[in-house]
């Protein structure tokens, strides 16, 4: 049983790595020699490969999590919270920011990484199915929100309630910014404007140049937006963090008892 858990954890880590590579593909890709006769032929492969990798990563993560034996309580709890979070996504919070990230953060922190990942991922899927729509962006969002929940499970468990809340607020800010930066990447390679080539992706950029251009692009387009989002995230975690923490811990005590 312990070996199985170790193997599953390793599989989760590798699948996440593949997802990360997929997100960051525009940076790694293809310092192909421009003199190479194949240059033109492969210039558009990167977006397609990105999509394949993201899907592979997502499918592997879910398969790994599904292979464990989730009991009916976990499943029901995930199902219901997934619906709550999917609806929260549609509710505009401060600074026009969606309230979707609070629950994966707090639930991931209380119930652990696996719960957090599934809550994040599946609530994006449910919200897509109830109206936000199934589209090429979906796998990216699913992975990114899943990571929010996953990583929140790694935070240290603090005894002091204020410290705990403070940590989650800071965490919310960090993820607010990171999430925006990650999510731009799925469409970044699709848009290109000649005049401002210094901020757009082109096939054959090296890692350094890619990062530099992306940084310019990020600062010019979405940084302010994401910063507002991060502040919104922090405000929401600040507002709902404490009562949600209390509530989830109460339910954890009541229902996820250890059977001896």
């Amino acid at each position: 049983m312990r070996t199985l858990r170790a193997v599953n954890n390793a599989a989760m880590a590798l699948a996440s790595l593949i997802g990360l590579v997929a997100f960051l593909y525009p940076f790694f890709n293809l310092n192909l020699d421009q003199g190479d006769p194949n240059w033109g032929a492969h210039s558009q492969d990167a977006p397609l490969l990105m999509v394949i990798l993201v899907v592979v990563s997502l499918v592997s993560l879910m398969a790994t999590l599904s292979s464990g034996r989730m009991n009916s309580k976990t499943i029901a709890m995930l199902g219901i919270l997934t619906a709550v979070n999917a609806v929260l996504r549609a509710v505009p919070g401060p600074a026009g920011f969606s309230a979707m990230y609070v629950l994966p953060i707090v639930a991931g922190y209380v119930f652990g990484s696996h719960f957090g990942f599934l809550l994040g991922t599946l609530s994006v899927m449910v919200s897509a199915l109830i109206g936000a729509g199934v589209g090429p962006w979906l796998p990216y969002q699913m992975i990114a929100v899943g990571w929010i929940g996953l990583s929140s499970g790694w935070l240290p468990k603090l005894a002091d309630r204020r410290l705990e809340l403070g940590m989650l607020v800071v965490w919310g800010v960090l993820w607010g910014i990171l999430f925006g930066a990650l999510m731009n990447l799925w469409f970044w390679p699709f848009i290109y404007q000649e005049q401002q080539a210094n901020m757009y992706w082109q096939p054959g950029l090296g890692l350094g140049e890619g990062l530099r251009r992306y940084a310019v692009f990020y600062l010019a387009t979405s940084a302010w937006w994401d910063l507002a989002g991060a502040v919104g995230n922090a405000l929401l975690v600040g507002l709902f963090g404490m009562p949600l923490l209390k509530l989830l811990k109460r339910f954890q005590r009541r229902f996820f008892f250890k059977v001896d």
């Binding site: 558009q44 309580k73 619906a83 599946l122 899927m125 199915l129 290109y192 009562p243 339910f251 009541r254």
Partner: protein, 358 residues
């Protein structure tokens, strides 16, 4: 008779592959036309309207970006208008090339949107969930519980909102939402526990899988090997900066290992299916069409010289190139529309129904 959900998924994947692989507006228009036809014949689900609105929004965004592009890009020979050079950023020639280039860039994204609109209108979310393979059964179940709960939750959130308002609470901004959100989340968690109990009482204990730990371990190791291989392939590819054939082979092998792990996991789940959907010959036709389109596009990419790119600036011409066989292949994507038209029952003649005299 309705088309099998899998053939819809294959269609969407095929069409999206095509749209992702080219920037040539001629091909894109053909793909878009096919997808548009499919969307129009896909049915009249209630969701159709919201998708049409999304498409309109997408079109607006697309159109807005065209002048933006034209104002920023000044290269090209076909000058439409000249703005004084002294104007910052936008000063200079406004060229036809820039307009065309901007339009083509937005088109790719919009066609993708169109494809997924057609897909979403054609396929109900519950049918999508039924497609989830048994290996992901638990994930599918969570999703379906979530979807079932959404309307109930919206109803109870309205009730809570009213109750708190009548209690004297004022909802003025997001800061006043605690009395709405907390009862809602609490009730939801309570409901989750009742639901779990009801599931257990109906024989849903745990995963529904009868796998030994050893079998599970084998599956997990298989998946792990597949992923490790995939990571290695990616690493090598970044190192070599090209795609030799053996690397592509390893890539396929890695995907195969992952697929095998999932297949084994699916087999282990002992569940039966109520009224499984039948696969008709029409579905084969449709899937073949989607595969032909996607394969042609891939072949065109590999062969080269088939004008998949579009770059109207000199020395290239304004008009995109066109390779007829690629264009024809794109029309295979319109097959679902033809199939729906052929299979649709003749609409009842309204006039005779209502008894309006001729």
């Amino acid at each position: 008779m309705r088309l099998h959900p899998i053939s819809w998924v294959m269609w969407a994947l095929g069409a999206a592959t095509c749209a992702l692989l080219t920037r040539n507006p001629l091909y894109l228009v053909l793909i878009g036309l096919s997808a548009g036809l499919v969307m129009l014949t896909a049915g009249t689900r209630t969701q159709a309207r919201s998708w049409q609105q999304l498409l309109k929004l997408g079109a607006v965004v697309w159109l807005v970006t065209i002048p933006f592009n034209a104002l920023m890009l000044h290269a090209g020979k076909h000058v439409l208008l000249h703005l004084p050079q002294t104007w910052p950023l936008i000063g200079g020639n406004i060229t036809l090339e820039a307009v065309l280039f901007g339009a083509a860039a937005g088109l790719a994204l919009w066609v993708l949107l169109l494809i997924f609109s057609a897909f979403n209108i054609a396929l109900d979310s519950s049918e999508l969930i039924r497609l989830i393979p048994p290996a992901f059964y638990q994930v599918g179940l969570i999703t379906s519980i979530g979807l079932t709960y959404v309307p109930q939750m919206l109803k109870s959130s309205l009730e809570i909102r009213e109750a708190q308002r009548v209690r004297g609470h004022r909802f003025r901004s997001w800061r006043d939402t605690t009395p709405l959100v907390m009862p809602l989340v609490t009730s939801s968690l309570e409901r989750a526990m009742q639901l779990a109990e009801s599931m257990e009482a109906r024989g849903f204990g745990g995963s529904g899988q009868e796998q030994t730990t050893r079998q599970q371990l084998f599956n997990s190791l298989l998946a792990l090997c597949g992923m490790a291989l995939l990571v290695a392939v990616l690493g090598i590819q970044l190192w070599l900066r090209q795609y030799p054939w053996w690397l592509v082979g390893l890539f396929v092998l890695a995907l195969g290992l992952l697929g095998m792990a999932i297949l084994r996991q699916s087999r282990a789940a002992r569940r039966s299916r109520y009224r499984p959907r039948r696969w008709h010959s029409v579905d084969t036709l449709l899937t073949a069409g989607a595969l032909i389109a996607a394969a042609s596009m891939l072949a065109a990419r590999i062969v080269g010289g088939t004008h998949l790119q579009y770059y109207p600036f000199p020395p290239n011409g304004l008009l995109p190139g066109f390779t007829p066989w690629v264009g024809v292949a794109m029309l295979f994507l319109a097959l679902p529309a033809l199939v729906s038209l052929a299979l649709a029952p003749a609409p009842p003649s309204r006039r005779t129904e209502e008894g309006v005299p001729q």
